[in-house]
């Protein structure tokens, strides 16, 4: 088989690269402040949002020499279940799993075996605030205008999103329009299988608005393809001072952040947990992290341990109410 020698060569090359990178960082690991190695588990495929977060974190950690060597592992399957199961099965204290808001939603659904409560929350690191956008040439001027249209005739306003019905994009849209007195179940939500396809749907004109994350739309906003009606943050973001929040546009309590953060398997020592939290905290101050964060349009949202679990609990309460009203529970 002609392919065998090639795969040997590939494996060898990768191995050589690995050896080179580890030895290059070898000297710095004498410093006790520096973690020698960290293994990041990604419960989704290469190229997805989780993958990007983990690899971005890894890049910042190694470039700033906070961790000598970061390795990655993709374990996709079961909508993230496989990754969680693997983390719990391995119980490796050097392994952290990246995850995000959907883990809270799935913990509410009986179809999935595990809950985020089975894991140790290490820290959230970034957030992506939800936004509602329309095409630039849309006659809708602001959130109030869209809400008025929707309340008058919910069938006329289709709202796209890059996740399934009952997913975050749907929930955020329902939450915003509920504040204007619409029945959340009347919100006509159109799911796409990825954020990019949902954006293509909006630009093709088949839907009137798109529920997405700020980081996902920022490029098309700067090129004037789309306009943001509102951002579901508590206050205006410093990176987008002209974008109104949904709350100030009249949607009471419409705050929603899609966080991304890290979890560990139960069984790691208190010292290990706090060293991870310390490392992630230190990372936020580095230039390498600034680069990575700004590149992807992320917003810092560092909440360690207790604060992280409080945020998760609050989010769970909010989501449970909305999912019940939407008839998903």
């Amino acid at each position: 088989m002609t392919t065998t020698p090639l795969s040997h060569v590939l494996v060898f090359l990768m191995f050589a690269l690995l050896v080179l990178t580890t030895s290059a960082h070898g000297q710095s690991s004498d410093n006790p402040q520096i973690l020698k190695s960290l293994h990041l588990l990604i419960p989704g495929a290469a190229g997805g949002g989780w993958d990007r977060t983990a690899r971005g974190t890894g890049e910042a950690l190694t470039r700033s020499a906070l961790v000598a060597n970061v390795t990655f592992e993709n374990r996709s399957g079961g909508g993230g279940s496989k990754g969680i199961a693997y983390l719990l099965e391995r119980k490796n204290p050097r392994m952290l799993m990246v995850n995000s808001t959907p883990i809270v939603i799935r913990s509410l659904q009986p179809a999935f075996p595990q809950s985020y409560k089975d894991l140790i929350p290490v820290a959230s690191i970034i957030g992506d605030y939800s936004v509602l956008v329309v095409r630039t040439q849309s006659p809708v001027l602001d959130l109030k205008g869209l809400a008025a249209l929707l309340v008058a005739n919910p069938r006329q306003v289709a709202i796209a999103g890059g996740s399934v019905s009952g997913g975050t994009d749907h929930i955020v849209a329902a939450m915003i329009f509920r504040a204007f007195g619409a029945n959340p179940r009347d919100v006509k939500y159109i799911p796409y299988d990825a954020g990019g396809k949902a954006m293509a749907g909006l630009l093709s004109g088949e839907v009137q608005a798109l529920s997405s994350g700020y980081g996902e739309v920022v490029d098309l906003v700067s090129q004037s393809w789309v306009r943001i009606l509102c951002i579901a943050a508590q206050e205006r973001l410093s990176i987008a001072p002209d974008t109104p929040t949904c709350v100030e546009s009249g949607a009471k309590d419409a705050v929603f952040v899609n966080w991304r953060g890290y979890f560990a398997a139960p069984g790691l020592t208190h010292a290990q947990l706090s060293s991870y939290q310390h490392t992630l905290f230190e990372m936020q101050k580095t230039e390498a992290w600034n680069d990575v964060r700004d590149r992807y349009g992320w917003v810092d949202l560092y909440k360690p341990g207790e604060e992280f679990s409080n945020m998760l609990a609050q989010q769970e309460t909010k989501l449970r109410i909305l999912l019940k009203e939407l008839d998903f529970l």
């Binding site: 996709s76 909508g79 009952g166 006509k188 490029d219």
Partner: protein, 502 residues
């Protein structure tokens, strides 16, 4: 534009960038040749290397890996009936029969030339019109995608030939059914998973195609071994030479398929797979009765068309990627991530802000396709020699690589069990003369048809009027109906003509 082309030439023709381009082409073809590894894994493997380069060099290299992997992907389809990616499934329909007839060398050469032409023609169209084509990418709505994918399904379902038509249709339905296993893309509800967590993400394409194509083929050869001596003496790989008549015969399909493939590639919701199926179906229809019958039994046109189309579509998919920043597939999503990682923001302003990236990529595609042809043609005799390995060694190797290829993607032993189950069922079905191709076609297209149709129904409040109210949707569906009904109508008309003549 001329200025842009000059910028592009300037960017590409530096020693460093040509080197990275060649590295990308090499890596892409070789990774693409391995069954189970497609463009997506090839690009993901190259990211660590590319991220250390400057933007234009990195993107040129990764683009080369992308079309290189599609170029190389045809090899395993032709030689061992193991298409590693959906876009080379149509290549195996005629490529594998050709290899079995002892024409592996010729099949590989035609695939290489067709891929080359597809890439070149598409790169030319990209160069002339890229900034203006972005509008087309956005003109298709869910209803149009539904119609287009239906047309793809109908086109290829029609190739089964009338004698096996009921069996082909039955297998298409089996494929459609298998595509419904897993989490439903609209409601997010698990369907037909039998409570098995491993089925929540559905059945993977790679698993199904490896089990029903490569594994079942190898198992069948073992079963048949007693009556047919495989490899009597040194296997005849056939000459690589394509006769003048054959070249004239395949040139028009290649040109048509390249243009068709490029336009399908522009659509973020379609891509190389649909392009290859549509061009295969179109050429089968255009080939006429006698030549059309050859499709599926080693037709040169049937091999050239999808190979030209999938390469052209890969090139076309750079339009929504570069001009809009909208990725149409997992592969282009990784490319987009890489672009953003370089701080290059794709979009209408890309060719103003980063002309060296925009024009560099386009010009590099020309050179890249030449490099690919130069790498591939001389290698064909060596690659084809794979088939001279005595079957007692080759068959276990195929079994081993198919199983390992699937396992290395998921690291899940459940997949191996499922694969064995599918392979065993496929062997039984094939012994009963049920074709596998319509099944895999139904499986690939079924999910897309369902998703787009259900989304259209949501948008139109469960009113089916979009089928005839949107001109684009309506026209495509009319073509699909004609393709499906024409053979029946033709027989009916012929009969009437004969009767009235009597």
């Amino acid at each position: 534009m001329l200025e842009g082309i000059l910028t592009g030439l300037d960017t590409v023709f530096t020693l460093q960038n040509i080197l990275f381009l060649m590295t990308g082409c090499f890596a892409g073809t070789f990774i693409g040749m391995l069954p189970g590894l497609g463009p997506m894994s090839a690009i993901a493997l190259m990211i660590p290397i590319a991220s250390t380069l400057e933007p234009s060099a990195g993107i040129i290299m990764m683009a080369a890996v992308y079309y290189g992997a599609i170029f190389g992907g045809s090899t395993s389809s032709i030689l061992i009936n193991a298409p590693g990616v959906a876009s080379t499934v149509a290549t195996s329909f005629d490529g594998y029969p050709l290899a079995q007839q002892g024409k592996a060398g010729k099949a590989l050469a035609i695939a290489a030339v067709a891929s080359f032409s597809g890439g070149l023609i598409a790169a030319l169209m990209l160069m002339v019109a890229a900034p203006f084509l972005a509008g087309i990418s956005l003109s298709f709505q869910s209803t149009d995608y539904f119609a287009l994918i239906t047309l793809g399904l109908v086109c290829v379902a029609a190739f089964a030939g009338s004698s096996t038509m009921p069996k082909a249709l039955l297998m298409t339905v089996v494929g459609l059914m298998l595509s419904t296993v897993g989490t439903d893309q609209i409601q997010g509800v698990p369907r037909f998973t039998l409570g098995v967590i491993d089925l929540i993400d559905g059945i993977s394409f790679l698993l199904l195609v490896m089990a029903t194509f490569a594994l079942s083929e190898a198992l069948l050869q073992i079963l048949k071994k007693s009556d047919a001596k495989i490899n009597n003496g040194p296997a005849n790989l056939g000459s690589m030479k394509v006769s003048k008549q054959e070249a004239i015969d395949i040139a028009p399909p290649i040109i048509r398929s390249s243009v068709l493939g490029f336009f399908i590639g522009l659509l973020p919701g379609a891509g190389a797979t649909i392009a290859s199926f549509l061009s295969y179906g179109t050429e089968q229809q255009l080939a006429g009765k006698a030549k059309g019958k050859l499709f599926g039994h080693g037709s040169l046109r049937g091999l050239a068309a999808p190979e030209a189309a999938n390469n052209a579509a890969a090139t076309g998919s750079f339009v929504p990627l570069l001009a809009l920043g909208i990725p149409g597939s997992g592969t282009t999503a990784i490319l987009l991530g890489a672009l953003i990682a370089y701080g290059v923001q794709p979009g209408p302003l890309l060719y103003i802000n980063h002309p060296e990236v925009f024009w560099g990529v386009i010009i590099s595609m020309w050179l890249g396709n030449v490099v690919l042809l130069v790498i591939n043609l001389p290698l064909i005799p060596y690659i084809a020699r794979l088939l001279t390995i005595p079957s007692q060694f080759l068959l276990p190797l195929i079994l081993f690589f198919s199983l390992i290829g699937v396992y290395f993607i998921s690291f899940n032993s459940f997949d191996i069990q499922l694969m064995v189950l599918f392979a065993a069922s496929a062997v039984v079905l094939r012994l009963l003369a049920f074709p596998m191709a319509p099944m895999i076609l139904g499986f690939i297209l079924g999910g897309m048809i369902e998703e787009n149709l259900r989304r259209a129904l949501l948008i139109y409040d469960n009113n089916w009027s979009f089928l005839w109210e949107r001109p684009l949707t309506f026209s495509i569906l009319v073509i699909a109906a004609m393709v499906l009904l024409w053979p029946l109508l033709r027989t009916y008309l012929l009969k009437r003509a004969q009767e009235s003549a009597r």
